[in-house]
Amino acid sequence: MFNPDMVRLLAQGIWETLYMTIVSALLAYVLGLPLGLLLVVTDKNGICPMGFFNRLLGFVVNFVRSVPFLILLIAVIPFTRFLVGTSVGSTATIVPLVLASAPFVARMVEASLKEVDHGVIEAAQSMGASPWQIVTKVLLPEARPSLILNAAIATTTILGYSAMSGFVGGGGLGTISINYGFYRYQSDVMLVTVLLLVVIVQVFQEIGMRIAAKGDKRSH
């Protein structure tokens, strides 16, 4: 199987997978980080309690999260076409990937921010900090190690989703695995793509853990 064509195909698959995953993860954080912040800040024990808005936001996040990714992938095809002009290929796959992972990222961000000791927030309030100052000077910096660690988890989850999108022509290693391994019974190709995915997940996870541990001043 290791003829030059297959190697070139796999190399392109790796590139497409990394492209989809990284761009989707970045965009998912562009949406998910503010969403997660809003969930924490407007919580009834948060720094700007807004009960109704918080429950509404929580419901929307849960709603999107409960739609199976494969269904979402197909359901948003018209929206994807509108945005990208096509519904196949790795760029088109970024649209459903971002939509599916942003609420997940929001919950991850929410969990990280809630780890910050309430006493520290209270101390900041007692010094006259505004809600915005608490967000930028307390919540985000204090939760940084946990946010980074969760970003690694979110990225590997997005990687898994991207492989699933291979079923509808999403591109990347997932498509190769399905087209060659599944439809053509080339189990060796399937095995190699799966191994490559395993390696990429390991690398992402390891990088995330190292950056998080290095920046964490609690563990000296």
Binding site: D117, G119, V120, E122, A123, A124, Q125, S126, M127, G128, A129, S130, Q133, K137, V138, P141, E142, R144, P145, G215, D216, K217, R218, S219, H220
Partner: protein, 342 residues
């Protein structure tokens, strides 16, 4: 201009303060009809058992908790009448330290002390210089690059104190600030607070459940019991002559044992700073020619002055009793007849 209910020399005035927390099923009353006044430059203590409402009371002083009744006047201005922005500005003059230190764990000592200065919008260079000065004041300038995880409880509280003083506040609220520390560290932190009070003239409000803390540094104390102020006054007055049940309980933690093995008439004598250097009881026994039974004795150092008290069982003989009274009166030693019940 001073508002109603506030007078000169008064930094915090609390009028008819009440706080009720609404839970799903019922309402919990944390504070009820609290009237207090904290004088500028004093060390004021608030003591009570857990659940008495101390922490809620101190949080009402900077409006971290909004009272449901009554008013809080800080430096002549009513906190309840301020908008959010004015309140945040006022809070820069009312600092707070906590039992759990509440330092930013991802910042080192110096950066922690800079934090309130950043909030106040002070230029970085200026705030760094101020932070160094504050760390010097609390005696841990050598730890300025250490992170909280590398420091002991006492060192962390010193950083918290430096941080609280950085913005030059008028009042420092201490919420059980020594409760997580061992006795030696507690003493050193209390000594630091006292030094700050004397050197900088910062008014200090100390919340605690330990009488020892009050005795060591406070000039006046309010005793909180079941959401209300049971007693308020000078520490030595309350120590010498406690009126409320809760005050007696806090001052003689062993009081119950003392009562359980004796019945009948007793005499309580109180020594102030001067007479505690004289052998009062021995002199009295020699002068009156009668024996007394010492049931309880204690001396305490309140704000540098020695205070002692003794509970004596009197002889049954009436004339001997009269002699003792006459002797104590002639020596200017306050005493009080008390019947210790079972």
């Amino acid at each position: 201009m001073l508002e109603r209910g506030s007078r000169m020399g008064e930094i915090i005035r609390i009028n008819g303060l009440g706080k009720t927390f609404a839970t799903k099923e019922n309402e919990v009353v944390a504070l009820q009809g609290v009237d207090l006044s904290v004088e500028e430059g004093e060390v004021f203590g608030i003591i009570g058992l857990s659940g008495a409402g101390k922490s809620t009371l101190v949080r009402c002083m900077n409006y971290l908790e909004k009272p449901t009744d009554g008013t809080v006047v800080f430096d002549g201005k009513e906190l309840g009448a301020m908008n959010e922005k004015e309140l945040r500005k006022a809070r820069q003059s009312i600092s707070m330290i906590f039992q759990g230190f509440n330092l930013l764990l991802q910042r080192n000592a110096l950066q922690n002390v800079c934090f309130p200065l950043e909030i106040a919008g002070i230029p970085k260079k200026e705030s760094l210089a101020r932070a160094e000065e504050m760390l010097e004041l609390v005696g841990i300038a050598d730890k300025k690059h250490a992170y909280p995880s590398q420091l002991s409880g006492g060192q962390k509280q010193r950083i918290a104190i430096a941080r609280a003083l950085a913005t030059n506040p008028k009042v420092l609220l201490c919420d059980e600030a020594t409760s997580a520390l061992d006795p030696t560290t507690t003493r050193s932190i209390l000594a630091l607070l006292q030094e700050i009070n004397r050197k900088l003239g910062v008014t200090i409000v100390i919340i605690t459940h330990e009488m020892g803390v009050i005795e060591a540094v406070c000039q006046r104390v309010a005793i909180l019991d079941h959401s209300r102020v049971a007693e308020c006054g000078k520490v030595e007055d309350i120590f010498v002559n406690p009126q409320s049940e809760i005050a007696k309980q806090l001052i003689y933690p062993q009081g119950r044992r003392e009562a359980s093995f004796h019945k009948g008439e007793c005499l309580r004598i109180v020594f102030d700073g001067n007479s505690s250097f004289e052998p009062v009881v021995s002199n009295m026994v020699l002068a009156c020619g009668t024996a007394v039974n010492i049931l309880f004795a204690d001396t305490k150092n309140i704000d540098g002055q020695a205070y002692g008290q003794m509970l004596l069982q009197l002889p049954d003989d009436e004339s001997a009793k009269r002699k003792i009274y006459a002797y104590l009166t002639s020596q200017n030693i306050p005493f009080k007849e008390e019947s210790v019940n079972v």
